[in-house]
């Protein structure tokens, strides 16, 4: 008997712990070498973009939390910034500082889940437990500001849902005090660990030109040495007033992506520290009763406040007809919000450029010609969230 084919097709996922959700890969293998890798997505498609078209602008914010559910506040920020850009408004200084503080903490939180699960996939169990210990502290901050630990929906068009609760600064400071040493602990476990290096150095390498052509963004692109970070290139929310650096890699492999994200957590810590110092009393919302609901006690005293309240919650506000694209640097890369308004109280069309979606498209380039065991390491290093890919 003669064999007609040399390759074997292996289905990986959609229920596989190392695919970080419901990703399905069809791998064509020649022995242990991946000849072709075809990702299949859409298992978590919830029609978020369609849903947003039928909701008023403010009503849509909770839906955005559910895209990249590891970094809900980054999604909120892209959406509200796009609306604010179309409205032509800028939120007050205090709101901007709080937004920066919380999105940087969100970046740390997202990177902690990445680090824990990535290490777990490759076989380093204990890192996961440490990462989730620190993540817990950030979840407590989420809970303190919004009452929600995961889907916090704290940002609003025109500012914030509410001001920071008393004692919040101390809570953040306590975290910032311990975090650098905790980060050192993770690095002690991994950075020079020969097993970790064997599984990551020179694995899943992608060339700079390929990364750009495939639209890779975020830590994956910066690991190839491309200094593109939206916070520096097109600062929003006052990022131009913070001192921080863009960590860069050289080889574009799994190890460099690890190094870049570890360095980014230090930079986020640095930005959060500065934000805490910049925090000064002031308004947290724009002074426009057509956009921001009046304080509740005022409803019993002021007829205008009652009218505004009623109009905002029954009809919402109108956004001038036009279109904007607002990119932000989310933990996973460039998260863009494209908003088309027809002048009404609901968006005519909202589209998100999900960084995970684009980053995942470069997976075949990184794994083809490599061993099947490396696929798991490369997926981990891409830091994908299927909620965001499928939307």
């Amino acid at each position: 008997m003669t064999s007609t084919t040399r390759t074997m097709t292996l289905n990986m996922g959609p229920q596989h712990p190392s695919t970080h959700g419901v990703l399905r890969l069809v791998l064509e293998l020649d022995g242990e070498v991946v000849v072709r890798c075809t990702p299949h997505i859409g298992y978590l498609h919830t029609g978020i973009e369609k849903g947003l078209e039928s909701k008023r602008y403010q009503q849509g914010i909770p839906l955005t939390d559910r895209m990249d559910y590891l970094a809900p506040l980054s999604n909120n920020l892209a959406y509200v910034l796009a609306i604010e850009k179309a409205l032509g408004i800028v939120v007050p200084e205090r709101a901007q500082v709080i937004r920066v503080l919380l999105t940087e903490l969100t970046r740390i939180k997202s990177h902690l889940v990445w680090l824990g699960t990535h290490a777990l996939d490759i076989g380093a169990m204990s890192v996961f437990l440490y990462c989730f210990r620190e993540r817990e502290q950030i979840l407590d901050m989420y809970e303190a500001v919004s009452g929600q630990r995961l889907m916090s929906t704290y940002f609003r068009v025109g500012g914030l849902m509410a001001d920071l609760p008393p004692g919040f600064e101390d809570q953040v400071q306590a975290f910032l005090n311990v975090f650098p040493s905790r980060l050192g602990e993770y690095e002690d476990l991994l950075t020079r660990n020969p097993l970790w290096r064997q599984r990551t150095v020179g694995i899943g390498t992608i060339k700079r030109e390929d990364a750009i052509a495939l639209g890779l963004s975020g830590p994956g692109l910066r690991a190839c040495g491309v200094p593109y970070d939206v916070r520096k290139a097109h600062p929003y929310s006052g990022y131009q007033r913070y001192q921080f650096e863009i960590p860069l890699g050289k080889n574009g492999d799994v190890y460099d992506r690890y190094q870049v994200r570890m360095a980014e957590m230090r930079q986020s810590h640095r930005i959060a520290t500065q934000a805490l110092q910049k925090l000064s009393p002031g308004p947290i919302n724009v002074e426009d009763p057509k956009l921001v609901p009046p304080p509740k006690p005022l409803l019993k005293k002021s007829m205008e406040a009652l009218i505004h309240h009623f109009k905002l919650y029954s009809e919402g506000f109108h956004v001038p007809a036009g279109e904007v694209y607002q990119p932000i640097e989310a933990p996973k890369g460039e998260l863009g919000c494209y908003l088309v308004s027809d002048g009404g109280p609901r968006p005519y069309r909202v589209h998100f450029r999900p960084p995970s979606f684009v980053n995942l498209a470069s997976l075949p380039k990184m794994v083809e010609g490599r061993l099947v065991a490396d696929v798991v390491a490369v997926i981990g290093s891409l830091d994908i969230v299927l909620g965001e890919i499928d939307r």
Partner: protein, 179 residues
């Protein structure tokens, strides 16, 4: 790092000049191919004929003064419920220059059944984006290497982001067979 920071401020001050440079280069090169140009909230939108799309994109990528080497995003808009709704579909490209830190929006408009040429040869990242536009709006892409649905199941009927597709409706394949 200091260099990078100064370039940002420079870019902001020269925002107006940079905009006119992009448009100037495009007008010099293509003239009549630019059907319309709009600037709103400091964002430039250029509307093109589908037939001109690929050569304009190639020029935008290869011209050293422009160097739009990074395709951020491709998406679609169904204009059915807009005052001006013909042609019905709009395919929107957001291109970016990593070197010059400039962003530009390109658009082509097509009617039901008309195809848009693929830009996957110019920017390979367009592959998945165009599949998504095809899946959600039913706009086909000519010469696309792998035009399949991407988010919806392969046997799905209809294109969910069209304006005449209901927000709440039970999908047909989900219904139980009559007894």
């Amino acid at each position: 790092m200091g260099e990078a920071a100064s370039r940002v401020t420079e870019g902001r001050e020269e925002g107006q000049a940079a905009e006119s440079l992009v448009l100037q280069r495009l007008r010099d090169q293509f003239g009549g191919a630019l059907l319309d140009v709009k600037v709103w909230r400091n964002e430039i939108t250029v509307i093109l004929r589908p037939a001109d799309l690929v050569r304009v994109c190639r020029f935008l990528r290869d011209d050293p003064d422009l160097a739009f080497d990074f395709l951020s995003d491709v998406t679609g808009v169904d204009r059915l419920k807009l005052p001006e709704h013909s042609p019905r579909f709009e395919v929107v490209y957001h291109v970016y220059s990593l070197q010059h830190r400039r962003r530009l929006r390109l658009k082509v408009r097509v009617d039901e059944g008309e195809a848009v040429p693929t830009v996957t040869d110019v920017w390979p990242t367009a592959n998945w984006h165009e599949r998504e536009v095809y899946d959600m709006f039913g706009v086909p892409f000519e010469a696309h290497p792998d035009l399949r649905r991407i988010l919806m199941p392969d046997d799905w009927e209809g294109h969910p982001l069209r304006k005449d597709y209901p927000v709440e409706a039970s999908p047909r394949w989900w219904e139980e067979e009559p007894a």
